[in-house]
């Protein structure tokens, strides 16, 4: 029975970390330990079945349960889900096919604005009749619709630019994203479509279709606690679906064609791979993922404006893909989780800690340098505001020291 030892250890770890997080609901560290259990699951040699059960335990029960005590945990988990989905979408384009797309955020914005415009009174500005906002039941229809729109815009962008060489392609996609952002920013006149920099609000949330069932079970939960849980499960389902689709695609003829193009475009086309069609398909799939996630993002935020869709978002997602390993699905998941936790929890935690130090006004005495009052620490110095530096460092260091990423894809020989 020695093989069950790692499984038992894992279970003990999960139990211990969640008890810690339960006792200290405000502690960043405790929740990080819970999150780390998922990473541990990938590495500990235990039977697959047990791993799946344990992962389900953490994802389906522990995190939502802990989230009801500290809403911020759930918020972090939702953000992680969103970025995992985005990173998986970008991973197809950058990782599988090797096309550097710097304008990925454009498709995310298109999806978000699609639901924002029709799921709020905004559409009344240019369609008469007062039909809007659409009722919550339209949400899922728009989710599907956004996949179509994303695929279409991805193809439309891809058609003219895919013949360009690698680095030109990168700049053109970047330009495309800036054009989309400028349009969103300025289309409040002559016809008010996007409401410009002021953004759109309130956006309708998805329907609580399961509420009668909950009541049937005798559960009375207030909407304000229900919605975060609901979004958590929605993004979880979406991320799992995307993982499933990407995995199936990767192992299919299409996936092999993509990788062939990445390794040597000329050779691939000589072997009969329809290069342009395959590249377009990759663009379309990536774009449709991003666009669907955008719809969910808009519904979750209730308010969106162009500021959420800057170049920095594109680079952030790129940093996630590169950190994890281009072309690797576990890598994209790990990268997205790692970078999001770094941004939302570690850097914010550090900022709070520094603020605390500043307010305490303690004296720091350094040998040789004399003492320094911490209250003099400039207020501008807040680690949470230096996301770009983090992204930049990740990109440079990974490129120089480990271009294949933390979890490089396994090559089938």
């Amino acid at each position: 029975m020695s093989s069950s030892l790692p499984s038992l250890g894992l279970f003990a770890y999960i139990a211990a970390s969640s008890v810690l997080a339960f006792i200290f609901p405000q502690s960043v560290l405790a929740f990080l330990l819970v999150e780390a259990s998922l990473l541990l699951l990938c590495y500990v040699p235990a039977p697959l079945k047990i791993k799946i059960y344990l992962a389900a335990l953490v994802l389906l029960i522990l995190i939502p349960f802990l989230g009801t005590f500290n809403g911020y945990y759930l918020e972090v988990a939702i953000q992680i889900g969103i970025y995992v989905a985005l990173a998986l979408g970008l991973n197809i384009v950058v990782g599988f096919v090797g096309l550097l797309n710097l304008g990925f955020v454009a498709f995310y914005a298109i999806g978000a604005y699609l639901w924002a415009i029709f799921g709020s009174p905004q559409a009344n500005e240019f369609i008469r009749g007062g039909f809007f906002p659409l009722s919550a039941n339209w949400f899922f229809l728009f989710l599907i619709f956004s996949i179509v729109v994303g695929a279409l815009t991805g193809t439309l962008l891809g058609l003219p630019v895919l013949r360009l060489r690698g680095d030109y392609l990168a700049i053109v996609t970047l330009g495309f994203a800036e054009v989309v952002r400028a349009l969103v920013n300025n289309l409040d006149k002559p016809i008010n479509i996007t409401n410009g920099p002021k953004g759109i609000s309130p956006i309708v949330k998805p329907p609580l279709f399961f509420k009668p069932w909950l009541q049937f079970l005798g559960l009375e939960i207030a909407d304000s606690t229900l919605y975060p849980l609901y979004f958590y499960f929605l993004i979880l389902v979406m991320a799992l679906l995307i993982i499933l689709i990407t995995r199936r695609l990767e192992d299919s003829r299409v996936g092999r064609a993509w990788k062939a193009i990445r390794e040597d475009e000329l050779a691939a086309s000589a072997m009969g791979v329809p290069v342009v069609r395959m590249k377009l398909f990759a663009f379309a799939v990536g774009a449709s993922f991003a666009s669907a996630v955008g719809v969910l993002f808009a519904a979750k935020q209730v308010f969106i404006n162009p500021e959420s869709f800057t170049f920095m978002e594109s680079i952030g997602v790129l940093a996630m893909v590169i950190l994890g390993g281009m072309g690797s699905i576990p890598g994209a998941i790990l990268g997205a989780t790692g970078v999001t936790i770094l941004n939302l929890q570690l850097l914010k935690g550090l900022s709070l800690w520094l603020n605390g130090l500043r307010q305490s006004g303690a004296e720091l005495t350094l040998p040789l340098l004399g003492s320094y009052s911490l209250s003099q620490l400039p207020a501008q110095f807040e680690p949470a505001k230096y996301e770009r530096m983090v992204f930049g460092l990740i990109l440079i260091l990974m490129m120089i020291f480990r271009p294949q990423g933390i979890l490089p894809p396994r090559r089938n020989r």
């Binding site: 030109y168 330009g175 400028a182 920013n185 002559p190 996301e387 930049g392 490129m399």
Partner: protein, 322 residues
């Protein structure tokens, strides 16, 4: 259309100033692309660094009371020299740290590293200014001479600032042209751009030439940064992104890797943008205004790349690693 023609001279001047600025930045992109075949994405931060060095030198002169005493030409030369030197050195350091370790790897790897460097530098500048001055939105101190305007005609008012930008840009471009085409080092740069392997067989120290190219391109970017600061007076660590992208557009427009092309591309883009900013709203009856001038530049870029990727003065691009 009466009004439209009346503002034409002013629009032309505006376009020229913008164009020279873009051209100066574009030189950095194009020279580096010439020798390394890669887009130095962080060049826009080298440009901003120049602007920050300029403002810091001016602040220093102001604090020591020298600004009011010294001759403005001397002040300008000092500020420009400092901006060029530091930007050039920073570009060299960047090449050494972020690009040289990647020589021989696929081009996308270097591009990603360059994007990382660009982001890193933006926040590094912000961090430095935050700790040093507790703010990172800086205002250039004014120089009285530069604030004067020359009313040439009823329809044209020429600010001394604009004249300064045009004169200094012309001078430095002429200098660069001479340096690249008439000196031994310039010949080495062109040789490396044409064929690095053969150049190295001929005894040209390729790595040193590449470093030098980064220095010269960076110095041009730094100069543009100082001029940008003096002309528009506001700088922040992120103000390089859009001009950088446009200057890159200018470089591609003129034919990347081609020095006269970068100058021409900058001019064309600057003029187009000034026209778009002033006439778009007149032509469309106010439906679309100056806010679309950025979109306009990117549309130019996309169109050029699709229909004439070699640019206006494009040289045949060397068949390289794809």
């Amino acid at each position: 259309m009466e009004l439209a023609l009346e503002i034409l001279p002013q629009v032309l001047l505006e376009g020229l100033v913008l164009g020279f600025m873009y051209a100066l930045i574009a030189l950095g992109y194009t020279m580096v692309y010439g020798v390394l075949e890669f887009i130095n994405f962080a060049h826009s931060e080298i440009f901003v660094l120049g602007a920050f060095v300029g403002v810091e030198v001016l602040f220093w002169l102001q604090d020591t009371g020298q600004l009011a005493v010294l001759h403005p030409v001397f002040v300008l030369s000092l500020v420009i020299a400092a901006g060029m030197l530091i930007s050039g050195l920073a570009a060299m350091a960047l090449e050494r740290v972020a690009y040289r370790p990647l020589q021989g790897s696929p081009r996308l790897v270097a591009l990603i590293s360059a994007i990382g460097a660009s982001f890193f530098l933006q926040d590094a500048l912000r961090l430095f200014e935050s700790l040093w001055r507790n703010t990172f939105y800086l205002n250039y101190p004014t120089l009285d001479v530069l604030d004067q305007v020359l009313p040439v005609a009823t329809t044209l008012v020429v600010p001394v600032k604009s004249l300064m930008v045009i004169a200094i840009s012309l001078l430095s471009m002429a200098g660069l042209f001479y340096f690249v085409n008439r000196t031994r080092i310039g010949t080495a740069i062109r040789a490396v751009a044409q064929d690095p392997e053969t150049a190295s067989l001929m005894g040209i120290p390729v790595n040193r030439v590449i470093a030098l190219t980064f220095f010269v391109g960076g110095a041009m970017g730094g100069l543009a940064g100082v001029l940008f600061g003096l002309h528009y007076s506001l700088v922040n660590p992120y103000s390089g992104f859009v001009p950088g992208l446009k200057a890159f557009t200018a470089a591609v427009l003129g034919g990347i890797g081609n020095i006269p092309g970068a100058m021409l591309g900058g001019m064309v883009l600057g003029l187009l943008e000034a026209f778009a900013a002033s006439y778009l709203s007149i032509l469309t009856d106010g439906a679309f205004g100056a806010e679309y001038k950025d979109v306009f530049a990117f549309l130019v870029l996309i169109t050029i790349l699709i229909f004439r990727p070699r640019g206006l003065l494009g040289e045949t691009v060397r068949e390289g690693r794809a």
